[in-house]
Every structure is written in structure tokens, then in C-alpha cells.
């Protein structure tokens, strides 16, 4: 069997790998799952050959690739669907109030990108609000302390931020419709050279991933348990994370790449998932196009690359074709896998832990429920 190591951070939407392991889904692959917190560390590990693939946010892959890390996106693992929040202090009610404020986000990480895009859509310059580079947990703490005005963060940190006097959630990735264009979404990326040398291994690896995701959707309780165990989490924390995210199936992947046989997530929302408010604004304007399209991944890649290079995060411009590698999912489709693993159930349908059943956190969209 071939040894393959994948790196994740401790984040449950990245954790179907534990199901692959537990259920022994990947044939002829000895799968090793490593938790590597920190973007730099993961990139370094990939470069060193200790890992072959990783789950990460799309924008992180863009910045890594543009800084010379030889990797390619091969699949889209999950999409933020309410987990990410922009929490602001009293008096800040929308982008119109952002000028001169400061926000906490991790440099070159999705929160950073989300804020930059928000500024751009509002017609503001990228430095209209000041970035304070903070890890998610640090950002929440700093927001509570009052040092920053806006906390761009995800759960559970956002829940902590909300405890600041007068703090409120401006928007979430659900209400902001970022999922329509894949602005806050995660991918599976692998080392370019390894992909070239091991196409069949890569294909089997991803097949197993999609099988695991499909199984989880059908068996949320047991799946949550396996994932929680793998991460060393409480099962309630897995529910919280899955409540704010959607695991993408192969069809939705094909949709993201714009391949035949696929349908983008926005056209194919999971059964039972909550819906964004009808009056919320989409992101088509940044692409000179519609809000919800198939094949959004390429334009999003290019947008990210452009924005990050303007703020000195990206080191170069890498065309989307070089960063996105749809060969593996196309090959899986050719095998009919997209029909075999086609569940579109929402794992987040299980009840939330009590401490997260907070109206303000979900902006009225909670509770969802089956």
C-alpha cells in the first residue's frame, strides 16, 4: 500500500479523513492524518514532502501558490454556511461605517480576504479599515478587550466576541451569500509533483474522501462521533461546526470547476439547510456577472490573487488554470462516482449545543431543523 499523509487543522469539516481511516475506505493507501495548525507550518510540511495533501481555505492556497509553494487544488471540501461572522462594536452597522475602524483577522487568511472583498464591494479602499493581525482566538480576545472595532472570525470565537457590550453580528457567511461564489470555502490541495507522479493514488484518495462525506451525511450521529474522536473534540463542537458549513459532494465539486455533470452549491443547496434572507446582496458585481454561476472557482481564484497581490500577500499572479486541477474529479465523474455518492443532506441538521442556541448569533435564521 502507498503511504499518504494529509494535513488538516483541527476543524471538523476537514475531518472526513478520520472516517476514511475508521471505515478503511481508501484501497491500497495507508492514510496518515496530521493536525498542523498554522498556514506556514502546513505549507512547509507539504514542501518538505512529509505530507502530500492538505485541506485549507482557497485563499490560503492562492497566497501559498503565488509565493512558490508547488501545489494545486484538486477538490472543494466544504463551504462556510454561517460559521464565519463579522462582529462589530456598537455604532458600526455596515460597510458605510468601516472607514477608520480596525478589524482583527489573520494575515492572508479567509477573514482577511472577506473583509477586503467587503471593502471593495462597498467602494472603499483596502486600507479604509486597519488590519490587526491576530489568530482567531486572539482576535476574539482583542475585540472583547475593546482594542479592535470589528472581529472577522468564526465560531466558536464569534460567540465569545458577542459578549462585548453592544457587540452584534453584522453578517455571517450565510447571510452574506459568500457561498454563491465560493468566497469562504475550503479545498483539498496536493503537491503538484506528487499529483503528476501518482494520479491513481490521488484519484483513490479523493474517491475515498467523497465516499466518507456521503456516508457522514447519511449517518450524522456516528460520523460526528468518529470525527470528534479523531480531533479530540466534544461531539457538540462538531455539531456547531457542521451547522455552519456544508460538505460538498462530487456534483457540487463539478459545479465549482464548471465541469459537465455538476451543479454549483448555490443551485443545489442541501435539503433542510436554512436559507439566506432574500434581500441580501450577492457578489456578482465583483465579477461583472451573476451572483450564482457554475464554474465560479476560476474567477474566484483570479479575484483572490488580484486582491492579495494588491495588499502584498500574494507574491505573483498565477492563472486559475495553473492553480486549479480538475483532472481528478473529472476522472471520478467518468467512473460515475458522482452518482454513487450523491447525498445532499445537511450534516448540520442535528440539534446545536445549548450554549450556541443564541438568537443574535444566527441572525434569526436559527434554528433550522429538519
Amino acid at each position: 500500500a502507498t503511504d499518504v499523509s494529509v494535513a488538516i487543522i483541527s476543524f471538523s469539516p476537514y475531518a472526513p479523513w478520520y472516517i476514511v481511516q475508521e471505515k478503511d475506505l481508501a484501497k491500497d493507501i495507508d492514510l496518515d492524518v496530521r493536525i498542523i495548525e498554522g498556514i506556514a507550518a502546513k505549507n512547509a510540511a507539504l514542501q518538505s514532502g512529509t505530507i502530500q495533501c492538505m485541506n485549507n481555505t482557497l485563499d490560503s492556497i492562492v497566497s501559498a501558490k503565488s509565493n512558490g509553494v508547488p501545489m494545486q487544488v484538486v477538490a472543494f471540501s466544504n463551504m462556510s454556511y454561517g460559521l464565519d461572522k463579522m462582529t462589530a462594536r456598537k455604532g458600526i452597522n455596515g460597510p458605510e461605517d468601516f472607514k477608520g475602524t480596525s478589524y482583527g483577522a489573520d494575515l492572508g487568511f479567509l477573514n482577511h480576504m472577506w473583509m477586503l472583498l467587503t471593502l471593495e464591494r462597498a467602494g472603499l479602499s483596502y486600507d479604509a479599515a486597519d488590519l490587526v493581525v491576530l489568530l482567531p482566538q486572539e482576535s476574539a480576545a482583542a475585540f472583547l478587550q475593546g482594542a479592535i472595532d470589528i472581529d472577522v472570525n468564526y465560531l466558536p470565537f464569534a460567540a465569545q466576541s458577542l459578549k462585548r457590550e453592544g457587540a452584534h453580528v453584522l453578517k455571517s457567511s450565510l447571510t452574506d451569500r459568500t457561498w454563491e461564489r465560493g468566497l469562504i470555502g475550503d479545498v483539498i490541495a496536493c503537491h503538484e509533483g506528487w499529483l503528476n507522479d501518482n494520479p491513481t493514488v490521488a484519484k483513490e484518495l479523493l474517491r475515498a474522501w467523497f465516499e466518507a462525506v456521503d456516508w457522514w451525511k447519511e449517518n450524522p450521529e456516528e460520523g460526528n462521533r468518529i470525527v470528534a474522536e479523531g480531533l479530540g473534540w466534544d461531539e457538540g463542537d462538531v455539531r456547531l461546526n457542521q451547522h455552519g458549513a456544508v460538505q460538498l459532494n462530487l456534483k457540487q465539486n463539478l459545479g465549482a470547476f464548471g465541469l459537465e455533470g455538476g451543479e454549483a452549491l448555490c443551485k443545489n443547496l442541501p435539503e433542510g439547510a436554512p436559507k439566506a434572507p432574500a434581500d441580501s446582496q450577492g457578489w456578482g458585481s465583483l465579477f461583472n456577472g451573476e451572483d450564482c454561476v457554475n464554474g465560479y472557482a476560476g474567477p474566484t481564484w483570479d479575484l483572490f490573487n488580484k486582491v492579495y497581490s494588491k495588499v502584498d500577500v500574494a507574491g505573483s499572479i498565477i492563472p486559475a488554470e495553473e492553480g486549479l486541477n480538475s483532472d481528478v474529479v473529472a476522472a471520478l465523474r467518468d467512473d460515475g462516482v458522482h452518482e454513487a455518492y450523491s447525498s445532499n443532506k445537511w450534516i448540520g441538521r442535528l440539534e446545536l449545543p445549548e450554549k450556541y442556541q443564541v438568537e443574535e448569533l444566527w441572525q434569526g435564521i436559527y434554528p433550522a431543523g429538519e
Partner: protein, 291 residues
Amino acid sequence: MSDTVVSGPALAGREVRHEDGPRGAPFTPPKQGFLALKSHYSRKTLGTLALLGALSLFLAWEIGAHSVPEAKEKFFPAVEQVLAALFQLFAEKEFIYDVGMSCLRIYLAYIVAMSVALPLAIGMGSFENLRATLNPTLSALRYLPAASFIPLLLVWFGPTDTSKVLLLFLGVVWFLVAGMLADVRSVSHELVESALTMGARRKTVVFNVILPAAGPQLMTSARDLTAVAWTYLVIAEVIGAQSGIGAVMMRAGRFLNVDVIIAGILTIGILGVLTDTVFRLGHRMLFPWAR
């Protein structure tokens, strides 16, 4: 010159008590306040005072924790919450395994660091030209922040135990070299010279005189630096946070479980003090001849 003479002209005309006479009355020395310049305590008093000091710290913490505004409570858990978290870690999360892994890494790193530092220190301490050549460079290396080697270590060794151990190693080794060099250099020159006059050759002098003479002090230096190694643990174990106290603390950070973080800090503190004690005992056993 009789045994009981008390002479001197001034006393000649007086009867004075002498050594066989009755003992004088008990003398009452003046009272000393708490902050007396000179005082000696029994082991028991020392223990009580030490406990008192530790308890005040915990008391201050407890009071602090309970006077924190509600919003920030999560960031400043009270003593009992931390203890509960600690208990839960051990009872439910197999924390003992993480503790074991951390200890293993620390000790391994320490052994590696020692086996690099000791020969360097002995060599540089014994041979002036080796010292002149290497020491300026090596002592500058102390300033290199180990934490910033993480990306490099990852690239070369991946998120493996090797990386973690190397990071811990880098965190202490140059300090060890500097400390141990000072120890070797403080070996009395006369010891070396007396060996030479007995016909000892260079090798004998280095291994049979300088090494044993510096031994106790070397071990003390090594002991003093364990504290530094422990503080690097949380930095090292974030790399590929699979296991270890640092990894547990890191994961707790992802859910803002500050109680778990503090439980981890507490564990590290206790382990640190234990290590120190082991070193102390080892010192006494290895060097019975040292003060």
C-alpha cells in the same frame, strides 16, 4: 598558669565567678520583627511559609477570577474551574499520555542538547584556542530565536517529533554551552597543574580532572536550564499538534477553553518543579563529594 586563674589588674581586688561557679542567668535577646536581617528557620517553618506564599498566589488568582466582568470570565477561570478541567483531562481525555509524550520530548531534547553542549564546553574550556575560535560565534547563537526556526524545521523534517525535539534543542543548547563553558573554565587551574606535575597527559587531564572537577557545577547549570526547555514546550508542540501538553493546550485554544490552557500551564509548572527535584536528587547521588 593554673586552670582557674582569672587575672588582670582590674579584677585582682574583686571576687569574680569563675568557670566552676554557678551558671549565669538565662539571657533574653531583643525581639526581632518579621523583616529581620538575620533569622534562621526550621524545615517546618520554611515549609509553612512556602505554603503560605503559594496559597496567597492562588487566593489572589481566585479573587481576581471572581471579580472579572462576565464577558471576560471565560478568559480568567477560577481555580476550581481549572482544577475541574485538569481532572477531566486526566479522567476522560487520556491526558496522561500527552504528559508522557511531552516529557519524552523534553528529556530527549535535553539529552541531545547536553551531548552537544558538554563536549563543546569541555573542549572550549580546556583548550584556549578552541575557545577563542568557537566561543564568540556560539555565544552569538544564543540570540537566535528558536521559535523562528519552526518554518525551517518543518520544511526539513516535517511536522514530526524530530522537528519538535529539534526546536526544544535549539531553545536551550546555546545557553547550555555558555553556562557549561563558564563551569569548565571555573575549574581551578591548580587542579590541572597538579595533575600535570604527576605526569598526566592531555587526555587524562581533560577526562580525569577537568570533567569530574566541573561535574557538579555542570549538572547545576543543566538543571537551571530545564526551566527554559519547559517554556518552549508550548511552542514546539504546536508543530503538528498530535499529542503532548502543548498540543492539548493549542486545541483548547481553538475553543477558547482557557481553563484547559491554564490546566496545561499548571501541569507544566508541576512537571518543571518535579524535574528540578529529580535533578537535585540526582546531583546529590552523583556527586556525594560535592558540598
